[in-house]
């Protein structure tokens, strides 16, 4: 595999649902970036990452155009999965492939013409870092829980698809360890775009794209102005996580929990 270096993905404006032109010049995504896309349900968040995923060329409902390194991407970036620099993890938490986990990953590895015997095992190991419910190689893909499926597909995107840009649609919904996911993606130098309703995921991102009526309304770069809010979100998230664990374990919570 030889992923040509992706220096930059550029989103050029399209139109809102009511036909108004979007009010930004260009949005750039570079390696190591963390971006969250926020806004009410139906505001066009998923449509924006879908535009990135298909490298829209004014041929989607939004009229946006997406460039790679300042140019229209070569056709194999769009059409040949082995050269495609982005991987999308959808909101869908069901995998429909009628295969076991190991068969599914092996088939994906084979489709990539990769020669790496250990990669199936390593992908399952990484997926198990993202979920509390252990994924076994012999489990059927269709029988995995939402959290297991999402964990496995994220791990696959990191190790097998090895895409430099990851698009994650509401990663928090499936009950996976979102901080660990973000940590692994950051450590790997990936550019990550989250569609999210989660305050912590939003605050952990360096930039925030706010959507409304199908259009990008503004792009916020908080720098360090939200540090207090982030600390608070981390503290609250810690409390909620401990409560969740204790409730799952069947405890009665009668006193203060955690920090």
């Amino acid at each position: 595999m030889d992923p040509s270096p992706i220096r930059e993905i550029t989103i050029l404006p399209g139109r809102s649902r009511s036909g108004e032109p979007e009010r930004f010049d260009a949005i750039s995504i570079r390696p190591g970036d963390t971006i969250s896309i926020v806004g009410p349900t139906g505001s066009g968040k998923s449509a924006l990452i879908n535009d990135i995923e298909v490298f829209a060329r004014n041929d989607t409902a939004t009229g946006r155009t997406v460039l790679v390194n300042g140019e229209y991407p070569p056709e194999e970036f769009v059409r040949d999965p082995a050269h495609k620099p982005v991987a999308l993890i959808t909101q869908n938490t069901r995998c429909l492939a009628d295969l076991t986990v190991a068969e599914f990953l092996a088939m994906h590895v084979r489709s990539r013409r990769m020669e790496d015997d250990g990669i199936v095992g390593r992908t399952i190991d990484l997926a198990n870092e993202f979920t509390g419910e252990e994924i076994r190689p012999g489990a059927r893909m269709t029988a995995l829980s939402g959290g297991q499926t999402r964990s496995l597909l994220v791990a696959d995107a990191v190790l097998v698809a090895a895409a430099p840009v990851l698009l994650l649609d509401e990663v928090e919904n499936a009950g996976i360890f979102k901080e660990r996911v973000i940590e692994v993606l950051r450590a790997g130098g990936k550019a990550v775009v989250f569609v999210t309703h989660d305050p912590l995921v939003s605050l952990l991102s360096a930039r925030r794209i706010v959507m409304r009526d199908g259009a990008v309304e503004r792009v916020i770069e908080p720098l360090d102005r939200e540090n207090d809010a982030l600390r608070e979100a981390l503290r609250l998230d810690g409390i909620l996580r401990l409560m969740r664990e204790r409730i799952r374990a069947g405890d009665l919570i009668t006193g203060p929990v955690g920090a």
Binding site: N50, H108, R110
Partner: protein
């Protein structure tokens, strides 16, 4: 005039693909549309109302739809030419998936849904083997890894098949199908058009009304359960 034949299993998204094709190409081409279905079909009326293009439909009834398609296709080309069309889109309900309705002098488009199961490409091998381009719909519902695994399954059947992944409702990815349609050579001699492969079309004793079960009551292709795992294989 150019010809494109669109086929695939029920609910794969054939009509959504046709609708996006007509929407994108109608400014540059005069398009005629023929729908071949079995019992009922509405797409001809819908497309005529939406895009004001000439449309026809054939319901094959008791006949296999691919058989019906073969019967009427030459007439359909003459009709489309009379209508002044420079592109004829034929959409066929692929039903039992043994057959492949694709012909010479026309682009063969197979439509299949990304959520239809990993083994689906293997089950419709006849259609995939003789098509020029596979359009994989509902791609928005699956993740990158699933897309690639599905693509690998298609390539197992036909390594050379061009694959277009689309959310046909939104129209994403359709540009490659449009290009394939527009780049395909025009019909040079409609009387010389033949099916690309001989399908196992046939009118059998069940088709003509013999309802008894069991091989003892039938003639033609007759098999016992013992050793019958592959009942009949077309050429």
């Amino acid at each position: 005039m150019r010809l494109a034949v669109v086929a695939g299993p029920p609910s794969a998204g054939k009509t959504a693909v046709v609708r996006q094709t007509v929407r994108s190409l109608r400014d540059r081409h005069r398009i005629a549309y023929l729908k071949i279905d079995v019992v009922r079909a509405f797409e001809d009326e819908e497309l005529a109302a939406e895009f004001s293009i000439p449309t026809r439909k054939v319901c094959s009834g008791d006949l296999c739809p691919d058989h019906a398609g073969v019967m009427v296709m030459r007439d359909a080309i003459a009709w489309a030419e009379e209508e002044g069309a420079d592109l004829l889109l034929i959409e066929s309900a692929g039903l039992c998936l043994r057959c492949s309705p694709y012909t010479t002098q026309g682009l063969g488009v197979v439509v299949l849904s990304a959520v239809s199961g990993t083994n689906t490409p293997l089950k419709m091998a006849a259609m995939l083997a003789l098509a020029d381009i596979a359009v994989v719909t509902r791609i928005d519902l699956v993740s990158q890894a699933e897309k690639e695994v599905f693509r690998e399954r298609i390539r197992e059947v036909n390594p050379g098949l061009d694959i277009v992944e689309t959310n046909a409702v939104q129209g994403t990815g359709m540009r490659y199908l449009l290009r394939a349609i527009e780049d395909y050579p025009e019909i040079t001699d409609p009387d010389a058009i033949v099916l690309r492969g001989a399908p196992p079309l046939g009118v059998c004793t069940v088709c003509i009304g013999k309802t008894e079960i069991g091989w003892q009551h039938h003639f033609g292709v007759v098999r016992r359960l013992e050793g019958a795992d592959y009942l009949f294989r077309g050429d």
